[in-house]
């Protein structure tokens, strides 16, 4: 089941070679470890480039957005079984 969220979150990311890898994020004081980065897409909001990270763990799939102008992370959507 999908649910739209659109809330700011704290995200832990590491860079492996030239690829960012999302390790975990914190939403509503809960820690969500990420086991897989499934898709990274570059889009834009007006002139601002944004990056969308489709990630997942064993509990669900999540879409995170990174805004490049203010370096903010957003949780856009979640999917859980």
């Amino acid at each position: 089941m999908y649910e739209k969220i659109h809330q700011k979150v704290d995200v832990q990311v590491i860079f492996l070679k030239d690829r960012p890898v999302v390790r975990s994020f914190i939403w509503k004081n809960s820690h969500y470890p990420i086991s897989s980065v499934n898709l990274i897409t570059r889009a834009s909001k007006g002139q601002m480039p944004v990056f969308l990270f489709s990630v997942s763990n064993e509990k669900g799939a999540y879409e995170l957005r990174f805004d490049t102008d203010n370096l903010a992370w957003w949780l856009e959507q979640i999917y859980y079984k």
Partner: protein
């Protein structure tokens, strides 16, 4: 295939077709829906159409255009995923970037299809077959392992497209010139690029079901059936196609531009229909201005509920058009022309509701479009039909309008579409926001 050509036109053309593109992108993004029947739809509303189906959904009989309620009946486990065009365009850009590493001659045919002419570069990469294999590997490695494509390699675009259609998903088919009939004759007529439903049906009615049968027909017989199109049909049946791979499609002036809006609930409410049209007209005008074009002819079609739109039928589709006395790129002018057409098409019932003439009176889809273009650079200042006059002694209102539009465009380019909008389309945004909440509930919680 490193040496020699596929003969006839001495070319190596690749056609790349991403398999079940929208659905595969969603399955790539979300591993929980992989291997399951997935339908991508604009909304979870039961009357909405499935825009793309995964292979698992296709196996159950769900196809593009199937209504959500029909799809749920034939495939009870179907997962409806909301359409996310931003994601698909982003993946398309990644895919095109990969293709351009092998040749500058890339024609983006649609969001999930492209033609490549690798005739001059194939030697650099060990042949066309190797290029095709590398493209497949790179799509999986660089974009996502769940994304597959079918590739056709042939001496022309038509045969390359037949090749990519031949084996799906994840196919790679080479068609040599001398083997073309083996492939062409296995394709149903309606599936052949350039033939289409109408001609396919027409031929089907007289028992012609393959290109092989068309090849056997006399010219006069073919001409009596399809008119002047017979020469093209003859070429297709012979596997001949002389069109080059076009690298600059985006700069080509289109014949028309249109926006379609499918209503979640079919409606006969004129205020609602006009409000949708106003927003669509603004989108059209933005596209015109972005391309530096202006249009003279505005057309409108209102598809009644229960009907599908395959080619125009002016009677059935409540179709009308208006040719203005000037070219425009202004959203309000496009809308006003659309409103005139709208008022010609509909009539009032005895309590004042406007009802469409054809169909059951309720409109499911509204299409507004423009045609008859000129590049804005070549134009003189246009005179407008709607409220024109002399302002400040010498400035025409149209000039002011253009300046306002330019200012709108600058802001919307920077901050996103419709960040700045006119008051008259505000109603549509409020309505859509309310509907979005409703749709999300339907989409994500089908039981509600």
């Amino acid at each position: 295939m490193t040496s020699g050509y596929l003969v006839k036109q001495n070319k190596f053309i690749l056609h790349i077709d991403m398999n079940s593109f929208f659905a595969s992108v969603e399955q790539q993004a979300n591993p929980f829906i992989r291997g399951k029947p997935v339908g991508v739809a604009h909304s979870g509303y039961e009357g909405a159409a499935i825009l793309a189906a995964s292979y698992e959904a296709k196996a159950c009989g769900v196809g593009t255009g199937t209504r959500v309620f029909e799809a749920r009946k034939i495939c009870p486990g179907l997962i409806i995923v909301p359409l996310d065009t931003t994601k698909y365009y982003a993946v398309n850009r990644q895919f095109v970037k990969i293709l351009k590493d092998y040749t500058p001659q890339v024609e983006i045919y649609s969001i999930d299809e492209a033609f490549l002419d690798v005739t001059k570069t194939e030697d650099l990469f060990g042949g066309a077959y190797n290029i095709a294999q590398r493209i497949k590997e790179r799509i999986k490695g660089e974009i996502g392992e769940y994304l597959t494509c079918s590739i056709g390699i042939a001496p022309n675009k038509l045969l390359a497209k037949v090749g990519s259609n031949f084996k799906k998903p994840d196919g790679l088919t080479i068609i040599k010139w001398e083997e073309r009939f083996k492939f062409l004759d296995q394709m149903g007529l309606e599936r052949v690029w350039g033939i289409g439903r109408r001609v396919g049906r027409k031929m089907g009615k007289i028992g012609i079901k393959s290109l092989r049968e068309i090849r056997k027909m006399e010219d006069c017989e073919l001409r009596s059936l399809v008119g002047g199109y017979y020469t093209r049909l003859r070429l297709i049946a012979n596997g001949e196609h002389f069109e080059e791979v076009k690298t600059d499609v985006s700069k080509k002036i289109p014949k028309s531009m249109q926006h379609a809006h499918t209503l979640s609930d079919a409606s006969s409410n004129s205020a609602e229909l006009l409000s949708i049209m106003r927003k669509q007209a603004e989108r059209l005008a933005r596209r015109l201005r972005r391309r530096g074009m202006k249009a003279k002819r505005v057309y409108l079609a209102m598809i009644p509920s229960g009907l599908r739109h395959y080619g125009w039928n002016t009677e059935v589709h409540n179709f009308g058009f208006l040719k203005m006395d000037h070219y425009t790129d202004d959203g309000y002018e496009v809308y006003k022309a659309g409103e005139i057409i709208f008022n010609r098409i509909v009539f009032c019932d005895n309590v004042g509701n406007k009802i469409a003439l054809n169909g059951d009176g309720k409109i499911r889809q509204l299409i507004i479009g423009v045609s008859d273009f000129l590049n804005a650079d070549n134009l003189e200042l246009p005179m407008s039909l709607f409220g024109e006059g002399v302002v400040a002694g010498f400035k025409l209102k149209s000039e002011l309008k253009e300046r306002i539009n330019r200012a709108f465009d600058k802001i919307n380019d920077k901050y996103g579409e419709f960040t700045l909008r006119t008051g008259d389309i505000l109603y549509q945004f409020v309505k859509e926001k309310e509907l979005d909440v409703e749709r999300e509930q339907m989409m994500f919680h089908p039981g509600i």
